[in-house]
Amino acid sequence: MAEHKEHIVSPKIYIVVLTALLLGTGVTVWAAYIDLGRWNIVLALTIAVTKMTLVILFFMHGKYSSRRTKLIIASGFFWLAIMLVLTLADYTTRHPEPSRSHLAPAPTLQSEVGSVRSS
């Protein structure tokens, strides 16, 4: 059988990545309790993206895969970015106030108040 030219990632690297991921989990919980205002979500997502990158590069062998595979991986995130960015560009600029129209019909509202009180 001909020799595979695949890159074998050593367990040492896996252990380093595992440690980094656990560390990242600890840091994200710790940081969640510090009041950073709107930056809490930014920090949480930055840590999550970092953890994801580690998983893709090492656990999923992204770093060692062919350029063609890398292109496919990148394209997936490109399409995801299109969906997120364009949708948010709409939602964050269209309504100055969140719509509360679904609360408007008075009879429904009354019956809902009743059910909250009685439970």
């Binding site: 059988m1 001909a2 595979h4 030219k5 695949e6 074998i8 367990p11 896996y14 252990i15 990545v17 595992l18 991921l21 656990l22 989990t25 994200t28 919980v29 969640a32 309790y33 510090i34 009041d35 950073l36 809490n40 979500i41 949480a44 997502l45 840590i47 999550a48 953890k51 994801m52 998983v55 893709i56 090492f58 656990f59 999923m60 062998h61 895969s65 062919s66 063609r68 595979t69 496919i72 991986i73 394209s75 997936g76 399409w79 995801l80 969906m83 997120l84 949708t87 948010l88 939602y91 969140p98 719509s99 509360r100 679904h102 609360l103 509202l109 809902e112 108040v113 909250v116 439970s119």
Partner: protein, 256 residues
């Protein structure tokens, strides 16, 4: 038909054959990224519209269980990676051993998830007719809260109602609004974690098959494509959780 890693006619080299398998798996994972992406999009848009109610809902989750589950799932990704490595280096006995470890960790995750769901059920946080976000602030014993937790819970509900009080709204109307919007949060919580758990269950089934085949000694340096591709799937499910955990459990803790 048993595949053993010989070269198929449509490929010129074994590397090409292997790369095609990896590439195909990634194409599938991209559809999964976009599938979950749509759900994350729904979450983002609704959180943007109702930040207070989503914060109140998020702080009602059990952070200890969520944290423990994150650690368990990351550990299972590690054991999965180790089973791939064992196959690549022809350690035929280690392959099923690492796979069994992965399956156990995956089952622990799902078990904890059941405990969490049951807790939400007891706390009237399942979307539907009996949903009541204020339940625990009024039923200390049923929710097993000590005095400190109860005070925290009541403070959150009070602040939530205040924040939901749109111009001209009475306290009752504001309570209904908080209840409706936090119900939206819990619908997304169960939808997202449920979809994730479904992927875990499918992954567990695939692992079971790998374990059976691994015990027969089928996976080695020449043939390990199933281990590697199911590994890719397992890591992907881990990545989904890496995002679910902070988004659902964490990002409003600083206000609690």
């Amino acid at each position: 038909m048993h595949r053993t890693g010989e070269l198929y006619g449509q490929f010129q080299t074994l590397e090409q054959q292997k790369e095609s398998a990896t590439l195909g798996m990634w194409v599938f994972l991209i559809t999964e990224i976009l599938f979950f992406g749509g759900v994350f999009m729904a979450y983002t848009v609704n959180r943007h519209a109702f930040p207070t109610a989503f914060g109140v809902g998020g702080n009602m989750l059990d952070l200890k269980l969520g944290f423990f589950n994150t650690v368990v799932l990351i550990a299972s990704s590690f054991t999965m990676a180790m089973s791939v490595w064992s196959a690549q280096t022809s350690r035929k006995k280690a392959v099923p051993a690492w796979l069994i470890a992965t399956l156990i960790l995956g089952s622990v995750f799902l078990g904890i998830k059941v405990v969490e769901y049951k807790q939400k059920f007891d706390h009237h946080l399942i979307p539907g007719h009996n949903f009541d976000v204020t339940y625990c602030s009024r039923n200390q014993v049923a929710c097993g809260l000590d005095d400190k937790d109860l005070a925290k819970e009541q403070k959150e509900i009070r602040e939530g109602i205040e924040a939901e009080r749109f111009p001209g709204a009475s306290e009752e109307e504001a309570t209904v609004a908080l209840n409706a919007h936090s119900q939206l949060y819990f619908s997304l919580y169960f939808g997202m974690t449920g979809l994730h758990a479904l992927h875990m269950v499918i992954g567990a089934g695939l692992l079971l098959w790998l374990i059976i085949e691994g015990l027969k000694g089928r996976f080695d340096a020449n043939y390990n494509t199933p281990v590697e591709n199911i590994g890719l799937y397992w890591h992907f499910v881990d990545i989904v959780w890496i995002f679910l955990f902070p988004l659902l459990y964490l990002i409003n803790r600083h206000l609690a």
